[in-house]
């Protein structure tokens, strides 16, 4: 609020150390040489004394944005939008950037652009919390990138969803985005439409590094022994497998293939197993073995599909799949 930052007369009730020598600026006078600083011992009228606000000055240096949020209009508006300043101040140089920017001149343009792209109002806060550096980007560059995505036949809603879920997407240049899309199309051997579908479901594939993806594909091919068309099918169904932890992937596969005895073709049909934690799979499989219901071959009677094994919550698993009570499951878990 501008008139609070106006120069104030020093109040005689303030302790001496807090009184600042404030220069009184007359409107119209440009002559800085003739302006004399006020003396601390000068007497002022009662009305002037009542109007002074005895507030401590806000600090020149701080490690948190808490000290500035009440004094800065930019930060206040961002908090009302839903930006989590406690997380933003931990990012490198982000606090300094936000303090330097002006809401009217810099930030409003980008916010209107994001609204144009289709990011919803309640998504703006989390978006800016993860990526406050979007305010440093050029408007033309951002518009070129959105135009490029539209030229690759991404729908407006798809682009909006991708941008909300991967806030750093629009920071990448057109060549880089092109490179990434080409990489996924070539490596996985998918058609253009399928690549578009894959990337829109997991947009952080475009923003992350490509080395882990290459390593994961090599692991699937060499260590796990899947054929290229099987890898294609699994990656399309569960894109998370491309960015999963290699050690966890190999451990889960080792247990599911060697201990549970599930062959490759069933795993290709139900790759949701790789998405869940190994501990959950182990516990549920051991309970089913204990009850004698561990049947994963679709040709046999009372067969249990792998996606139901991992995706349902505990109560549904106990009542429908294991046909036992939840207390029995808990008692069994304590014997493992």
């Amino acid at each position: 609020m501008w008139w609070e930052l106006e120069p104030k007369l020093p109040s005689p009730s303030l302790p001496y150390a807090q009184r600042s020598l404030v220069v009184q600026i007359q409107p119209g006078t440009q002559d800085w040489d003739n302006v004399l600083p006020l003396s601390a011992l000068e007497e002022i009228s009662k009305e002037e004394a009542v109007q002074t606000v005895a507030k401590p000055l806000f600090p020149f240096e701080s490690f948190t944005l808490r000290d500035y949020v009440d004094h800065s209009e930019t930060l206040t508006e961002l908090v009302h939008l839903g930006v989590d300043l406690s997380k933003v101040e931990k990012l490198r140089n982000a606090g300094q950037l936000l303090l330097r920017l002006d809401f009217e001149n810099d930030i409003k343009k980008i916010l209107l652009f994001l609204k144009d792209v289709g990011v919803e109002d309640n998504q703006l806060g989390p978006f800016l919390t993860k990526n406050p550096y979007i305010f440093t980007e050029d408007m033309e560059a951002l518009e070129t990138r959105v135009a490029y995505l539209k030229s690759k036949k991404f729908d407006k809603e798809l682009i909006a969803r991708m941008v909300s879920r991967a806030p750093f997407l629009l920071m990448f240049s057109v060549e880089r985005l092109d490179n990434r899309l080409g990489f996924f199309q070539k490596e996985l051997g998918l058609s253009v439409q399928k690549t578009r579908n894959l990337v829109s479901r997991l947009p952080r594939l475009l923003t992350g590094s490509l080395e882990p993806v290459k390593e994961n594909l090599a692991v699937c091919r060499i260590e796990l022994g899947f054929r290229p068309n099987e890898i294609q099918h699994i990656a399309f169904k569960i894109p998370k497998i491309l960015t999963a932890n290699k050690k966890k992937l190999t451990e889960t596969f080792d247990y599911v293939h060697n201990v549970m005895g599930i062959p490759h073709h069933i795993l290709t049909n139900f790759p949701q197993v790789f998405n869940s934690s190994l501990l959950k799979v182990k516990e549920r499989h051991m309970f089913l073995t204990f009850l004698g219901r561990a049947q994963y071959d679709p040709k046999q009677p009372s067969y249990i599909s792998l996606d139901k094994l991992v995706s349902v919550p505990n109560e549904v698993f106990c009542t429908e799949i294991a046909k036992a009570s939840v207390q029995d499951f808990m008692k069994f878990l304590k014997t493992l």
Binding site: M1, F63, V79, L333
Partner: protein, 382 residues
């Protein structure tokens, strides 16, 4: 006697001037921070009670100490997971629960905002006093109320084993030291397999040799277990450091409290066979000062004594002191309400058991003091 490690999340750092503005500065003092930032000022003081030092008084606020959980409880550690991960998972869930509680409302301040007021010439734009919340207290600005909880671990379990794992929260971490010093016994169920020998005594290790086990009968196994129990019992009495001919030793033995109260090697107080179906067998072992690898080694040695070989397939702790299996919380129950309930339920037991075990130590010291005085008086009267 060393205190258990892992009582706090790391070595103690000075309480003042810590900050964590970037990951590299976490927990360092300002003067040697990698970020080079220096804290010059404190946040604005808005109310008169901000001038009172925090520890003395704060109005209307349930203090952080009152809100946080304190005490001892047990969780069931699943096999295949390292114990620090279990402790971290419990801490994360507790923090999530605490941060979801109602927080204190933010302070208010008066700001002069442009508003329309009925003046002489109709509506005028003048500063109008409005009461607004201080944004520095907004949850999006100050962050979560709790970012760290002191969760300490009791007797540890290694990666392959599972079972009752005692944890302490907040002020309960002091009780962990007391539990350690009380030297309670622990109960394990150990499953073994005859016919194999591996380098790390478990079934996942490198195979060294395979043997036959048809000659093993349950009597032979019982005989070996009796020998082990006997030799361990003798060692127990030696390390207990009490003269067995005294009345005090008899009383302790009657109550079942006769055990070494100082540093001793791993001792087995009781061992028996629960199931015997060759090649598999299951033992129940009650021991002190042990490690899970020691128990696997015992299984290996039992195999050798029976002129065959054995590996250990499962080590599961069923009791740690007075925390039994039914009190241990499963992974689905690691949330704040269940943990608070578990702490509340076991509070009395913890107090009485610790007093019983440690109290007698203090009492014996007191009795010795009295005996010394009586001897002196006796000499003086002669």
């Amino acid at each position: 006697m060393s205190a258990p490690d892992g009582c706090a999340k790391g070595p103690k750092r000075p309480a003042a001037f810590r900050h964590s503005c970037t990951p590299c500065c976490r927990g360092t003092a300002f003067r040697d921070a990698p970020c080079g930032r220096k804290r010059i000022s404190t946040p604005a003081q808005e109310e008169w009670w901000d001038l009172i030092p925090r520890r003395i008084w704060r109005p209307e606020v349930p203090g952080a100490r009152a809100m946080a959980v304190h005490g001892l409880f047990a969780v069931y550690k699943p096999g295949g997971v390292a114990w620090p991960r279990v402790r971290d998972a419990v801490e994360t869930r507790l923090l999530a629960g605490l941060n979801s509680l109602e927080q204190r409302s933010s302070r208010q301040h008066v700001r002069f905002l442009p508003g329309f007021v009925e003046g002489e010439a109709g509506k005028e734009l003048t500063p109008v006093a409005t009461r607004l919340p201080v944004l520095a207290d907004h949850p999006l600005v100050k962050g979560p109320r709790f970012t760290h909880l002191k969760v300490g671990a009791g007797h540890r379990l290694d990666v392959k084993s599972s079972g009752v794992f005692v944890l302490g929260v907040g002020q309960g971490c002091r009780l962990l030291t007391d539990m350690y010093n009380a030297h309670f016994t622990k109960d394990y169920t150990v499953r073994g397999l005859f016919g194999k020998a591996t380098d790390d005594f478990s079934d996942t290790g490198k195979l060294i040799e395979k043997t036959t086990f048809d000659h093993i009968t349950s009597e032979k196994l019982e005989r070996i277990l009796a020998v082990i129990q006997g030799s361990n019992h003798k060692a127990l009495l030696t390390y207990a450091n009490i003269d067995l001919k005294t009345q005090e030793a008899y009383e302790l033995a009657v109550k079942g409290l006769l055990r070494p109260m100082e540093k001793s090697p791993p001792l087995i107080t009781a061992i028996r066979c629960l199931e015997f179906a060759p090649p598999e067998f299951q033992l129940e072992i009650q021991c002190l000062n042990e490690t899970q690898q020691y128990l696997r080694k015992i299984v290996h040695e039992i195999g050798l004594e029976l002129k065959s070989t054995a590996v250990c397939t499962q080590v599961r702790r069923t009791r740690d002191g007075f925390f039994t299996l039914d009190k241990a919380l499963l992974r689905t129950h690691w949330d704040m309400e269940n943990i608070q309930k578990a702490i509340q339920d076991s509070r009395l037991t913890v107090q009485t058991e610790l007093e019983k075990s440690l109290g007698h130590l203090e009492r014996t010291a007191h009795d010795e003091h009295i005996e010394m005085d009586q001897v002196e008086e006796g000499d003086a009267s002669r």
